[in-house]
């Protein structure tokens, strides 16, 4: 099946019922997307499908045929969010960080704290206590 992955067309050879998370990590070699729980609770596996944040551990590969997928690797070196996370120390162990950033990408620029809290409700962090993450996302 054909997808657009981080802006480039790609053909997938995987089983149609394979989890998108596994397809990205194993077939595509993009290990930035993490598995934290495998049940859609933690958000560590968050990627964008056609601009919408989803838990890739719950997406069957067949359902992304023809879709445009963006992973953390697709943000590029100049994206402001990963830099903001570094500057604000929004990452400690880093396992939640790609998911946090991909969710935050959907918020656009200068989101309010209230909007950030709601949007990040599906992303868990065990290290930071969230404040540094919120600061990073609010950075202009």
């Amino acid at each position: 099946m054909r997808i657009t992955l981080n802006g480039a067309p790609r053909d997938l050879a995987c089983h149609p019922a394979a989890r998108l998370l596994d397809v990205l990590r194993e077939e595509c070699g993009l290990t930035g997307t993490k598995e934290g729980c495998g049940e859609g609770e933690c958000g560590a596996c968050t990627v964008l499908i056609d601009g919408a944040a989803v838990c890739s551990c719950l997406v069957p590969a067949a359902q992304v045929s023809g879709a445009s997928i963006t992973t953390i690797e697709g943000l590029g070196d100049d994206h402001p969010l990963p830099r903001a996370f570094m500057d604000e120390v929004g990452a400690q162990c880093g396992i939640c960080t790609p998911g946090m950033i991909m969710t935050a990408v959907t918020l656009g620029s200068r989101p309010s704290l209230a909007r950030i809290r709601v949007a990040l409700a599906g992303n868990l962090c065990r290290c930071t206590g969230y404040e540094a993450i919120y600061r990073a996302i609010r950075k202009p």
Partner: protein
Amino acid sequence: MLRDEEGVVPLAGATDLYVGLNFGTLEPRRFVNLWGLAPLRRIALRGGTLSIGALATYTAMIRSRQVQRRLPMLAQAAREVGGMQIQNRGTLGGNIANASPAGDTLPVLAAAEATVVLRSTSGERRVPFAGFYTGYRESLRRPDELITAVEVGTVEGAQWFRKVGTRAAQAISKVVMAAVRSPAPRIALGSVAPTVIRLSRTERALADGAGIDDAAGIAESEIQPIDDLRSTAGYRRRVVSNLLRRFWSDTAPG
């Protein structure tokens, strides 16, 4: 395929089915992928009837002007399902077909007196939501049928919804309630019985002018809460009583 092959499971947002698959509690089986069926995503107002396609995601229901105007308690319920990632994939039809006693949209559909539209190779039929569930995780949907849409007529009165759980997101409810305040109030509850229920005797008492204390007493006898991994029967009874009073005072006229 549903008609001819046994054990094929319709698959939409996969936000519950794939949890079971990943965990090993759902045996691997053949799925029929519904995700591409665009006509089943439509949300439309036809005459007085709001029609919500079975593949409408929670995000779509939250954003829909028609849902916000005609059935705001559904948009509210959708906002409290999981988190953004789940809302972007989970669907109304999936919530109904999954048939959990705790499904967040189910009390809303019960209180709205919705109709479930089912389709198979032999045709289409409409089933009142009120009778749709026949037991724990059992419904009138035949194995060869797909839920294609939910239809809701005009709901007269103020709509009210509250979900009580461990946190404001990513929580299965301990108690979930949807209600409508009018001369004929409607009160529907999830997580306090094997299926979503309407408190018909409580409703009747309130319609006949009973006070909320008496009504709460009747409600106690209409629910069958259990102890489970999320909560206890005693806690649920207490919360139902509190929610009932909250509904009544929040929607009091004037």
